[in-house]
């Protein structure tokens, strides 16, 4: 009896050690991706210059590019990737729907409508104004979806949430396209933002949304154990003594903060929240205490590299990361479905 | 063999091998289903009972060997030809939302219909009979989603009955039913067998009910037939130990005198030790 207990304890330890090493390895890849993202682009910059830009800034154009353009952009890509992946993982755990992602809460659609309305009425076209409109729009639509989802019989079930999300998204998008059809000026101004991109953002914008993302991240990590339990199903969680309503509300706040801040700063970027949790779960299993940190790093790596790819393939112009993501993500998604459903 | 009572086989397998994704689940299986009897397949979870049933029903193509229906290889017959002789009900089937019992039962007539003949008087007659015998006539116009588990299962049975076949294959028809409804359903099947002489093959998990209602038991262990015959022959303490990995006592059922399996379990063992 004792020896088996000890064995399983050791096995547990070994597994944790493996997962921890994996996390460090992923961190290393992230670091390399960050370097690559700073070095490559419309103009390539040597690693030596990058080093000097931070240690011995001399105001030369390449140093300026690094500090005012590439670094903020790369940091934002990382942050957005991490936030979206974590929001997606929580959504999937919460709804037990493998296709759930922040966009089914209507976050992207709400943000898009708010920004389009803002541009249409106020005629503003500054990224920081967009950010606030987007944040507000995302939050309002997510809360609406939550409220609508709890009207249906049985309360806030995954099914109700998904349907409410789909309906609100469709409704909001139709209003958005109505405005875009009626006003070509708005369309012209907004379409690049609508594609979802991290280009042209500066540090200032980053500082504005950083607190929200941080709070969201901390909340998510604090909830990770509860979400693992909740992902077993609501009845199980409740019989284990969990106050599921409270957890759901806190998780919702975390999702809104993370996804709202992401869409505010980078526009609607799909797929990260959908695909990253799947990859991560495949690698680390079902424990959200490991899933969430892995999601953060993997999400950051993926968005960073997608952005880099978008800059490199059609030089000197670039593809917005919001369009690159589905183009590399969807084939993978299809492969995953074929492969995974085959085994189950 | 001394099984002359069961020598007549309209449905039988020869060297049948069935596989999922290349992994064989049933291996080189020879089995004859006695005509006009109730045959019950028993075995542990994952032993290949359901797979075998699907193979018998032409739902699964064999990797080796063949299933024969009336002496013909079942895969050389057309789907509709087989469906007129053999009806199959999978485990917990799901009906689309809003479908009424009558709609469902009418679909059992599918193998008899064509583009032009979509609803002959015979179809109508058979559906009526199926509803009557399952006592579902009263509920015929209710949507399936409004019915209780037992009623829903009866509606599905009625659908297979409307198919008007001599052979019925049922995969755990009693799952999710309480004991009273289990007995109710099995009584219905027994009645069908008595009145219309139907050959019934089903999977049951309750060994005692299997002995009570089965004329012929097939115990399956890891894709192979462990034992076949009357409940009295098959249901031994040794069989239960080998096939289910369970220590038990076999006693006579006080009501029907068929064998009854009383599991041992740790609780009893430790109690015995304590005394």
């Amino acid at each position: 009896m004792l020896t088996t207990e000890k064995n399983s304890y050791l096995r547990q330890q070994r597994k944790h050690l493996q997962l921890f090493t994996g996390l460090l390895l992923a961190g290393l890849i992230l670091w390399l991706s960050l370097l690559a993202s700073i070095a490559w682009g419309a103009a390539d910059i040597s690693f030596k210059d990058i080093y000097q830009a931070f240690t011995a800034f001399d105001g030369s154009s390449s140093h300026l590019i690094i500090r005012t353009v590439r670094l903020p952009r790369s940091l934002i890509a990382m942050l957005v990737g991490a936030a979206l992946a974590i929001a997606g993982a929580i959504m999937q755990g919460l709804t037990r729907n493998p296709l759930a992602s922040p966009s089914i809460l209507g976050v992207n659609a709400g943000a898009a409508l708010a920004v389009v309305v803002g541009t249409f009425i106020l005629g503003s076209n500054s990224l920081s104004v967009y950010a606030w409109f987007a944040f507000a729009g995302a939050a309002i639509s997510a809360i609406t979806v939550y409220l609508l989802g709890s009207i249906g019989r049985g309360g806030l079930t995954p099914f109700n949430l998904t349907i409410a999300g789909a309906a609100i998204t469709a409704f909001i998008s139709s209003i958005t396209s109505a405005i875009l059809i009626l006003s070509q000026r708005t369309l012209e101004e907004i379409r690049f933002w609508l594609a979802g991109s991290v280009a042209g953002r500066d540090m200032n914008l980053l500082w504005q949304v950083l607190p929200y993302i941080c709070i969201g991240l901390i909340l998510a990590l604090a909830l990770s154990k509860q979400i693992t339990i909740l992902s077993l199903g609501e009845d199980t969680a409740r019989s284990l003594g969990q106050s599921t309503a409270l957890i759901k509300i806190l998780a919702a706040i975390s999702i809104i903060l993370l996804a709202g801040a992401s869409v505010a700063i980078a526009g609607p970027i799909g797929f990260v929240g959908l695909i990253v949790p799947h990859i991560v779960r495949f690698l680390v299993g079902v424990d959200y205490r490991w899933i969430l940190p892995y999601c953060a790093i993997f999400g950051a790596i993926i968005v960073l590299n997608a952005d880099l790819l978008g800059r490199l393939v059609v030089r000197p112009t670039e593809l917005p990361v919001g369009l690159v993501m589905p183009l590399i993500g969807a084939p993978f998604f299809i492969y995953l479905i074929r492969w995974k459903l085959h085994n189950s | 063999m001394n099984q002359n009572r069961f020598c007549d086989h309209r449905l039988e397998t020869k060297q049948l091998t069935l596989a999922y994704d290349g992994v064989p689940v049933v291996r080189n299986l020879n089995l004859g289903i006695p005509t006009g009897k109730i045959t019950v397949l028993v075995g542990a979870n994952g032993c290949g009972k359901s797979t075998l049933l699907r193979g018998l029903a032409r739902l699964l193509k064999p990797k080796g060997g063949m299933v024969y229906l009336d002496g013909k290889a079942i895969f050389q017959l057309s789907g509709k030809t087989v469906a007129k002789k053999l009806g199959m009900l999978p485990q917990s089937p799901i009906a689309p939302e809003g479908l009424t019992v009558r709609d469902l039962v009418a679909m059992g007539r599918y193998p008899y219909q064509s583009w032009l003949q979509q609803w002959s008087s015979e179809d109508e007659q058979k559906v009526k009979e199926a509803l009557d015998i399952t006592t579902m006539t009263e509920l015929a116009d209710r949507p399936l989603d409004n019915l209780s588990g037992g009623q829903r299962q009866k509606a599905w049975i009625a659908m297979v009955l409307a198919q008007d076949t001599d052979i019925l294959l049922l995969d755990e028809p009693t799952t999710f039913l309480d004991l009273a409804h289990q007995v109710d359903l099995l009584d219905l099947l027994y009645e069908l067998h008595q009145q219309q002489g139907k050959t019934i093959v089903m999977i049951l998990h309750d060994l005692n009910l299997a002995c009570r209602y089965g004329d012929y038991l097939v115990a399956i262990q890891q894709g192979k037939v462990y034992a076949t015959g009357t409940p009295e022959r098959v249901m031994t303490e040794e069989m239960v130990r080998e096939v289910f990995g369970l220590e038990c006592r076999i006693v006579a059922d006080p009501v029907a005198d068929t064998p009854m399996c009383i599991p041992m379990g740790c609780k009893v063992k430790s109690d015995i030790l304590r005394h």
Partner: protein, 348 residues
Amino acid sequence: MTKQWLIIRPKVLPISFHCDRRVPRVLSILTLITIVAMVISVGYGEYYISPLDVIKTLLGLQTTNTDYYFVINILRLPRTLVAFLVGVGLAIAGTITQGITRNPLAAPDIIGVNAGAALAAVTLIILLPNTPVSLLPFAAFTGALTVALLIYFLAWREGSSPVRLILVGIGFSLIANALTNLMITFGEINTVSQALVWLTGSVYGRSWSQVLALIPWIVIFGAIALILARELNTLNLGDEVARGLGSPVEWQRGLLLLTSVALAGSSVATAGTVGFVSLMAPHLGRQLVGASHEGLLPVAAMMGGMLVVGADLLGRVMFAPLELPCGIITAAIGAPYFVYLLIKNRQP
């Protein structure tokens, strides 16, 4: 026995048929509403014509004003007819996809067929703005068919499974949408505007040539769908049961999928992606006449026609003289309908 069903079984012919008793009544009411909506729609516009005059003109009777003939028969009637046909096509396509996937949310919109059509058409509008409009339907149909075939083959693994069909379809619609967005983001602004109108779905300015091009598709594949209604019923019970009943499941599913693609593709090709019709019409139909497809298909079809004709009319009336594409109206109706479904919520 005959309480619930309408049975047609003539003694002389070897023909028999049955459907839900409610079907004839529901169908005639829907038809009546549709005709009324069409008459109003044809009369409505900058140049108003009273319903009576519309009917007179349509029947070829003498009216007070000779302009009526031109305005009605040349300008307005084809538009309304296109709206109707497109609605019928989308609704039947939706009923079929929901039937074969056994998922009430699986409309062609969701499984990527429409996205394929949209991508092809938007590519044509934006990259080759000089190509004649008449080529648009072919492009859209090719796009829909390509995506449908890709989905079917990629979802195939020792047989096709409904869940895989839906998921692979979602994957493809994401790819197609991304490519469409790429065009919208980088295309020339005027063509983008045009493409956007097309994308939301509009029957603006459709002429007789489009009506005539669409009719054969709807009639032929609509008829095939009706013939296959029985197969749809059995498939709807699940693969196992359907196979147990002797239905060649893969064949039927392939044939039905092709029919659905043909209907959705030709409709989308003519009017763009008019959303939600293929989702709503079958739902509403099921509530009116039940889940058996012999009756459901015609009822859903008429419902779809009515919805699009109505949406087109509403889109013109609401912000007159501004005109909203009918696709926006159907989406705006579709969303609250979903909320209604949610509140009513039949599924636990």
